[in-house]
Symmetry: C2
Subunit: 333 residues, 2 copies
Amino acid sequence: MSKILLAHGSGGKLMHNLIEQEILKRFANPFLSPLADSAVFSIGKQKFAFTTDSYVVKPIFFPGGDIGKLAIYGTVNDLSMVGAEPLYLSCGVILEEGLETEILDKILASMEAAGKNANVKIVTGDTKVVEKNSADKIFINTAGVGIIKNNRVLSTDRIRKGDKIIINGSIGDHGIAVMSERMKLKVTFSLKSDCAPLWSLVEKILGVSNGAKFMRDPTRGGLATTLNEIVARTNLGILIREEDIPVKDEVKGISELLGLDPLYVANEGKAVIVVSPEAAEKVLRVMKKDKLGKESRIIGEIVETPEKVILKTLIGGHRIVDMLTGEQLPRIC
Amino acid sequence: MSKILLAHGSGGKLMHNLIEQEILKRFANPFLSPLADSAVFSIGKQKFAFTTDSYVVKPIFFPGGDIGKLAIYGTVNDLSMVGAEPLYLSCGVILEEGLETEILDKILASMEAAGKNANVKIVTGDTKVVEKNSADKIFINTAGVGIIKNNRVLSTDRIRKGDKIIINGSIGDHGIAVMSERMKLKVTFSLKSDCAPLWSLVEKILGVSNGAKFMRDPTRGGLATTLNEIVARTNLGILIREEDIPVKDEVKGISELLGLDPLYVANEGKAVIVVSPEAAEKVLRVMKKDKLGKESRIIGEIVETPEKVILKTLIGGHRIVDMLTGEQLPRIC
């Protein structure tokens, strides 16, 4: 009898199979089927976005954030990625019996601060408690509702050969910060999760140009997974250049130590933006002026063939960057 | 150091304290603070409802339902209780490593059928997997968005002395069905969870009269908790008559066996409706014609004092029905 593996939650191939074979088979509808970061629908003349994520990150506190902050910003970002201004959030918590109320209080305080910072309101919630060892401290689900103005459409359907791929900074910070904390690595370093709300950056991009065609935040499965998802939906290829992809030295170092590839490591404050070649420089300029976009870079472009993600390596070779197989980093968000 | 207890999730006093002292302290806003079944807000000219619940019921399959069906209908009902037509649902699942995929498939099939039956679409979702013993098989969160037509307002603010209290059938079926399954009680009986979607019943009620002022589905903590919540928000009292409250013989029997009071046992297909005295008979008539309202009854009324829930017992005495203290039935939904 087949069983659920940790890899089914990794963001990689097994998870995509599960979603495509089990979930879409049953629930396919025009809102769910694009598998965008948020569902987009209209009521009357107004376009809305609606999204959800459950957070099971371990440990619940890590450099640069905690499960509460992550639960707010993660859902804010999923709304932002379809061009929706985040407005209202729901919050469902599942608590393990015996959790210190002081810890809960710290997490709630963090959610409060994050909500204020991202300018969203938690308007509805739910609390469940399960017996000791039936959950791990605390799991948080947030869902979010946002509005899409000016009939904006951010969709893989708009992507064409020659489009540029931009990222707003270094990759792998979140995943490596969480793993270092989990493994209590005895290294002293300043690396923090990049956990941040992306709406204000996105709003600026959308304000200067309609040339931004598609966005996705490369969380579970990292940049490599996001790019492979684009390839799968467009039947186009992607060429990225290793020399242009920002990776911090600490992330490189710990990744080597742990046998990880930063391309597959989760981010929580990054956006991959596919933009028309004409608009690329303009978008890049406005991004660099935002505090979350200072390190923005064009890292590659959309090509016609092969229908794969190809990395041009530092030494000039080319390698295929496939979708993640197996479980690289469980419970990273 | 104080710790989270199972009772913090029971729907009773400790949970209310947690919500009022920890949650509202931080997150108070006009949408959350009424603590209605759903938050209600307007965007443009359209009124919306938004709600969430996490489901941790144990066992995940029980007579009359399963965790998937519950997750769909529970959120449908929370929207219905504020007069909103349920439209779109999100679904976040947390899976325990090692769960048989066959079980997941059965639950997904049940959610598919429930979604069709309740005429709602799951438009966005998320899947996480945690290690064995870090969760108990499967937890499901659903959030829902609905629309409120004709500027309807269902609120405790509208409740006045003399208003009638109606319930659409027998109490305690869900909680006792789940407990019987959990404890593998060796009794043969036909009792099933009342798990059902209430929107079509609610729509009929709202269609015949504006006299329905407030609705709540008495889930965790049961009828007693819902009535106490009304008392707390209105500063009015409630008088209910034991002879008018429908309780099935099996529910009475098992409750006695387990030392439970059906007034505190969870329901998943019931609505408590507060209605003006003039509209009561009309509302009752339309309810009785619906398949989910055949057993509808007026069970009591709003009184001025005392500001408590008072039960007139079968033998003619009166007793105070307080809010649930301690944990009666953990993981009932």
